[in-house]
Symmetry: C2
């Protein structure tokens, strides 16, 4: 039986074996007990707070079996959850993997998935500490990441004040463009590079913890559902409004891809999800501390926090229009991403 029908203990052993890796001492020392007992034991450093965040990654909703390689599913499910740790300004330590899958995916698919997961785990120094596995017709993944941040250093959504300058990292809309290309399933000439941000997003951990440690950002969050959906959340948490400058928003280049697909780069940047860039605000007296790029990652001022609750988009000609949320909402949308 054991050789043909894997049982839960066998699958757990596979997961433990294939995700074990050499990690930096900061992570291995903090994990006092990993996979194999009723629960894991984690030792935070004295003076630190523990960051806790969970993220779904579901077949058919967050990835498609026919379009997304298992390596991408493994990488991305962890990278997305790590992005929440980046958004608090913290450092990841370990994660729990809840995985449900059909028997038919416990072979090649699981192998590829664990290989992508392991790569992300090593790259972002976040150790698998435990989790739960069960059988299900569709693949279900829920990841919980545990991180740390020095007490008082975490950057919340609620700290934005009128007059603060709004920044974003990277370019917005790239992941959405990758998704659109994948959906039409042309791999264009430059396909792989354009798909990379959709398949293998990078949580902005170094930037997040720099902004937190140096106490530069007054508020911060990651852009997961699209700027037009996420900025209103930051503003609501802070009790403020915002004015974005249309022409400052870092969009994807007017390259062959958006044109061929008849996509508007600004619409991609405003409403496209899955970018996992950081959105943060900075007091005007600290903006001189923000470099144009941070370790090669572009940082762009895109507008200003205002009094009140309005979210406006300022056109080149000086006219304004309301910013309307058009990003990802699972209870409204039904696209896989």
């Amino acid at each position: 039986m054991r050789n043909t029908v894997p049982n839960e203990d066998f699958i757990l052993a596979q997961i433990a074996k294939r995700t074990s890796a050499s990690h930096a001492p900061s992570s291995t020392q903090s994990l006092a007990l990993g996979i194999g007992d009723d629960a894991a034991l984690f030792r935070p450093k004295p003076g630190n707070e523990v960051i806790l965040t969970s993220d779904w990654f579901l077949e058919g909703t967050h990835f498609l079996m026919k379009k997304h390689p298992p390596e991408s599913a493994g990488w991305k499910c962890l990278a997305r959850a790590l992005s929440d740790v980046a958004a608090m300004g913290g450092s990841p330590r370990c994660f729990l993997l809840s995985l449900a899958l059909p028997l038919s995916r416990t072979g090649l698919w699981l192998h590829g998935f664990l290989s992508g997961l392991r790569r992300a785990s090593v790259k972002f120094n976040c150790i698998l500490a435990g989790g739960d596995t069960t059988r299900q017709e569709q693949i279900l993944i829920s990841i919980t990441v545990i991180g740390e941040v020095r007490k008082g250093d975490a950057v919340l959504r609620s700290g934005a004040r009128p007059g603060n300058i709004i920044y974003v990292s990277g370019r917005l809309g790239e992941a959405e463009l990758g998704l659109r290309i994948l959906q039409r399933s042309g791999r264009l000439a430059a396909g792989d590079a354009l798909l990379r941000k959709h398949l293998y997003p990078e949580p902005r951990l170094a930037l997040g913890s720099w902004l937190a440690e140096k106490r530069i950002a007054s508020s911060m969050m990651d852009i997961s559902d699209g700027l037009s959906s996420d900025l209103p959340r930051l503003c609501a948490a802070s009790g403020v409004g915002a004015r974005l400058e249309w022409q400052r928003i870092p969009c994807v280049h007017h390259s062959i891809a958006p044109r061929a697909l008849s996509l508007d780069p600004l619409q991609l940047a405003l409403h496209g999800g899955d970018d996992y860039e950081l959105l943060f605000t900075v007091s005007p007296r600290s903006t001189h501390r923000i470099p144009k790029s941070f370790h090669g990652l572009r940082l762009t001022a895109i507008g200003e926090i205002t009094r009140g609750h309005k979210l406006q988009l300022l056109r080149k000609d000086g006219s304004e229009q309301p910013l309307v949320a058009g990003g990802w909402d699972p209870f409204r949308s039904s696209k896989a991403r």
Copy 2:
């Protein structure tokens, strides 16, 4: 739109509102930041280790829409995960709820679910700290519980030694009996009492932390998949064998229920899942410290840890038979529980 089609933010607000409750100071003080930001922030006490555990609770696998009231789903999904904290000897602090559900369940069902969840959260003093929600055709729940235990006090599976006495709390097989009754969907005369352990299990938190603090148990785990499946895991982790005494195992009474259903109480006790009782071992020189009952919960010596790797069941007539795992394995079984 907002009144008819709830969006993610609306559902999150519902969850936050309906699960907020008065908790003991130990929990509220340790949660520095709860629902509403990118992640939660938790402050463990100095000198403590953080316990981390995740559990699936899936419609069709762990509960059935037609058989299980939403209040039970809410209670049980948290209680099961808390049982892992009990099994380490720790105290729960907070939890993350990952919930996926169809639009049609965001009304009455969600209300009942959150009411059951809130009751368990208050009773076991474990605060909702965050999570993730999305839409899915079937209801999917993944719970991560965060607990604490004094450094060095956690009781692992790996500490059992030859000669140690094996104990269990409560009676085994009661939850399985409740499931069988529910499946045949007679509510028998004594139906509600017999169903209680299946629908509203109680994690043995007080017993677990007492055994840990007093350093009485040499190893411990909770029985979630059935004694015949879980004892081999404890023995494998400890590198030992075990001999159970058939007539000592605390079974359900030969009442009307098992007879009417033609169930063998010993088979229910050996292979029935979902009991969430504690299985622990005690050195012979400490067994005098184990009372017959702990706050009304029966404690029973059922056998002994042996050298080697064999697991044997000792009959009344002195003959032995191997203990064969017949409990719950999601990759082998397909019953809802």
